[in-house]
Amino acid sequence: MTHTLRECDVLVVGAGPAGMSAAARAAESGARAIVADEGVAPGGQIWRPALRSSSPVVAQRWAARLAGSGAVVLRSTSIVELRRGANDGWLALAESNDGGFQIAARSIVLATGARERFLPFPGWTLPNVVGIGGAQALLKSGMSVRGRRVVIAGTGPLIFPVAASLARAGAMLVVVAEQAPRHKVLRFAAGLWRSPALLARAAAYRAAFLRTPYATGTWVVAAHGEPAVQSVTITDGASTRAIECDLLCAAFGLVPNVELARLAGCDVAEGRVIVDARQATSMAGLYCAGEPTGIGGVDLSLAEGEIAGLAAAGRQADAALLGRASALRRHAAAIDEAFALRAEVKALAKPDTIVCRCEDVRMRELDPRWSARQAKLYTRAGMGACQGRICGSALECVMGWPADSVRPPTQPVRVSTFLQDIQSAQSLPHGAH
């Protein structure tokens, strides 16, 4: 064990765009900054260090800026607990490949990003049924899709870059199904004239998979196959058809990762961390930036990260930066409205469909009158390895159950990490217990 306690002024959790800009701005302001991320390099999911394609210029620019800022980057490191530390600071429990250790920080920036929302449908547990962002992540990690038949079924603007990546990588993209109705998608597209850069990006993506139909008002019903997916059934409500495929990418938008914020006691409403104009949460010394404050995309994440990094280091963001963030937030609201989930996709699970994939809890075992807590206690739904990150977000949609409370650790850790935490707490002069 090399370190049992590391100290810094600003700890940034997550090194996606928001975390990178937060850590860079904090360090440039003179703060001793540490940024911890589960990935093998900074970039997060959207700028995941790609194997076969080069990163966008803005990603390279921020990577260079972070590297030159003096911030310490901890790779392959998870933050699994957050609590009040000495002198009004915070204490984080971290786990890396080498084991557990503590990080004491005067302030924290939570830049924990988002995950995909999965909704249960018959066959969604089959191998080779993956997320849409999931497919993108696997592609960027080097997955080969050349000549493979791929179907995308889901919702939201994320479909476009992923479809383009799959097509460019040589996949036979059979159909792209968007559950949102045609008129809403068209209205959203028409509104893009206000953001020429986004419009150009969308057009370039569409050009890359132009031979594949983009079917609006169409959604997945079931996946079939043995031992892995072989076909998918999709419908537009009027007609239903089965399509053969080797890979099905199915997901229903993004869900902010707010577990650490909730554990720390931050106010959260409608699944988003509540922040003020400086990205400060309801807890002193704790800031939040990027997707956890509401899904807004990479540009908003960068702006919020900058504001949060400056604030965490005791500095003020200028009016231009604050103005950029609020303009980008208006665009995010338009996405929410256009790609709202239709009722049909929330009711795809049959009685024998597994809803909790960790504990294999089936739909028929759940009583709509319960809460998420009751489902946990009676069936173990949400008690498995993912700690309800998949089924919790699904059941919030399907059953209307708000997420259950968060307890440490926020994800599975080794027992040695816990022991490290206890031993360190006992040896600290100002132990926070």
Partner: protein
């Protein structure tokens, strides 16, 4: 991009260096990363460390998320198929 050898369920596989374990297995058409509590074969879903569906044993350490670990020369991986 050069290739390195890893050992999957006792079988030697040549894979691209810098690939994640998840991708190395998927490209080798290994579908059953783990077996669920009711006996279903499962593979990667989220691709980013959230869902824990891609758990395999790597160099003797169980429950490693294959999507978060990069392959290394001589790495030994056990999937659900080996335990079946």
């Amino acid at each position: 991009m050069s290739a390195i050898n890893i050992i999957v369920d006792g079988r030697t596989l040549a894979v691209e260096e810098n690939a994640t374990v998840a991708v190395a297995l998927l490209d080798a058409r290994e579908y059953a990363f783990r077996t669920s509590v009711s006996g279903e074969a499962r593979g990667p879903l989220c691709g980013m460390g959230v869902c824990y569906e891609c758990r395999v044993t790597i160099d003797g350490v169980p429950h490693r998320r294959a999507c978060l670990v990069v392959v290394a020369a001589g790495m030994r991986i056990e999937t659900a198929a080996a335990r079946a």
